[in-house]
Amino acid sequence: MIHLVNYVILYCIAKINHERTTASVYHLLRGKRSSQTIQDAKLYELSSYFGILKNLKRSDFEKIVEKLQESGWIVSNHKNYASLTEDGYIYLQSHQKTFPVEWLNGMQLASISELFWLRLQLTIQTYTNLVQGNNNFIPITDDHTVQYWFKQHYYHSRTDVRESVDHLYKELLTLLESLPTDYATLFVHRLSGYQKIGLSLYQLAQSSHLSVYDVSLLLTCVIHRFVTKVKVKSNDFPYLSMLIPPSEQHVADVVTQSAQKTKQWLEKGFSIDQIAQIRKLKRSTIEDHVIEIAYIDPSFSVESFLHHQAYTEILHGIKQSKTTKLKDIKSLLHNQYSYFEIRLVFASVTDNNRSMIP
């Protein structure tokens, strides 16, 4: 049987190819909030996989890696640096089109879509109960912030319950009809509402003959696709648009707290050196924060840190060097630019603009 989770891990190992330990893949999939993980994601063009499997257990991850080894798809040394074998590459190649991994957009959507999904489930549960006149039900999520959000939303929307149910249904139907039947089935079976309690991940796995992690991943693919579609065509999905949290929320969820403070100082117009002085931190720490923000915040602009000409020269250098090693790039550019400046350019380039890794 083909496992999506195997495919994903194999793909990540292929990209990282001996430069990091396999543990970095684990942190990436779990969406660890650290500068290292966030930078790795960008560096190895794995941004879309960031935080897509938050429920992955360390022991399970290690079992899967072991299995990949036994299957002869990867080889790893005793320090857990792994790379793909020829068979591994063949496996990846031949399963490229089996899974909708291109729907994933972890770095931009992982936390937004998780919140969207919780909100959607609670909204559906509440409205389908209310429309049947049932006020007695236990919310599907224990998350108090989501429950609070719903109260606000319900209070402010002031639309007729029947109308809300009909709108929600129409918009969901449109989205679901664009999916393969299997995926739509998983999604609908997970939903809870009036006289219908959704299936647990394990039950979904059982009914679809998949592993629990595969179900998790497929649902994530579907949610990411939905969020992307709703964001792009918000006019077609007015109701679902209201359930998508603002992007600031996303930045706040992913960026480390310390980096967030730096962001606030930057927004007030302070320079890196000034912030370092105020916060009694090293300049390099503040630089790390800036890089972190650059990776995650879509509205971040490098212009205040780098002249246009410098930017194009560094970008040219990166493209020429065909490596991700900062040191090589730096010397190729005759040590004209600092590591910080090179990393900034790295951070600002989208994955699609680069293709350096085999």
Partner: protein
Amino acid sequence: MSQLETILQKFFGHTSFREGQKEIIDDVMIGNDVLGVLPTGSGKSICYQIPAMLAEGTVIVISPLLSLMEDQVKQLKATGFKDVVAINSFVQEMERSQIFHELSSYKLIYLSPEMIQNKRLLTQLNHMKISLFVIDEAHCISQWGHEFRPDYLKLKEVIAFLNAPPVLALTATATPEVQDDIMNQLERMNMNKHIYAMDRENITFSVQYCNNTKEKLVFISDTLQKFPVPTMIYFSSKKEAEAIASHLHYQLPNLRVAFYHGGMDSMDRVLIQQQFMAGQLDIVCCTSAFGMGINKTNVRLIIHYHIPTQIESFIQEVGRAGRDGLSSVSVVLYAPYDEMLPKRLIDSELPTVEQVKSLYHFFDNKFQAKQTAINEQEIMVAFDLNEIQWRFIKFQFEKYEILKDNHIMSIYEKKNVLVPAIEQLIHNRYQEKLAKLNQMVNWIHQQGCRRRTLFQPFQSTIKEPTFYCCDSCDFQFEQWSPVVDIEKTNTEDWRTSLAHLFDQQIMHSDC
């Protein structure tokens, strides 16, 4: 209808009180101290929930069962009683200070025994009007009880600090000995006792001897094949609960089987619990984590795949059957050497003497190095202690004033006193637990009436069974004819399922 009945109807949907509820509420409302022993499933919680709605001020409930707390808060909110909150280790720091901020606006506050030690919380409660102080699972205060919790011994001081409000101590299982001990420990010897019989007329008891695991499995699938009724199967191990659930899933394709244990993520736990209550599931393979908040009336069969470690928990688990009064059966499966697993469980509930000794030395060194603050998580990992073991040691160290507010105090030469004392205590506690287990095992092996022997330690009279009594008296599985009210849900395609959920007409596109 009286005011009490109106509230009962409005918030709980019942037209009349169950045995004991009204008597306890009346007694509590006039400010008396009450000790209530009500069997599982009799709606103990209504005894303080209704006073919370009516009385001026706030009702505090101490409960060690975090998930039960959460369930009750959810259920109360679902019925429209919103001034209720649970504060325990699940509540995040930020949310906690928000709750503390508006503490006096709550009518009913659930607290874990650890939480009530919080100084800030206590000070704030001290300024509020506490109309009633409820101790749920009150048997935890007694060393003779089956779930002794050292934290509970501090409640006496807490109550005094809160200006001595009336106390309601509630439990589902307490022998007369434990009842006295509860009043002793609380130093309230004049509590009004409301003791109700724990045996339920509609439950039949039986034991099935098996030679091995395989026979257990055959018995379960044969029985469920013949009697497809809502069933709970109790396990002592998460792994086995999962494995047997999966086995039954394939063996019994006409029944809907799932597992439940504390290791699952919270949404999946909610889903399984609600599926079972909504009748979307027939069989749940579970650990004792399941069932506390379960409000399902038509569970017909309770199977114990592993023997429980004590009679008391067995009675509580069996008490979840047949709350609608219809015929229900309890079966305990027993195979040779089945005592080994509960023995191992008992071992895991106590620290070893070696662990105590090395912890003592660790603290001694730390104190001499002037590093007195301790990190509980780190200690548990470093000394390979689980939470129950650590709680045991911590309480003893606090008693001997080696620990105070998570700081190491001067140790000097306490070792000579402390180590032998704790060693003795571990030994005694182990023997007590073993005795409890033996009581359970003896019950399985004895030949007399199972109902009589099970309930004799707790009450003087035994009720007349409505259906069958037990397998020693009159019961054989072949004769059983339970009400079978399992509905079959059809598997629908996603379009139909979605349309149903949203109450929409299904469009047929087959034209």
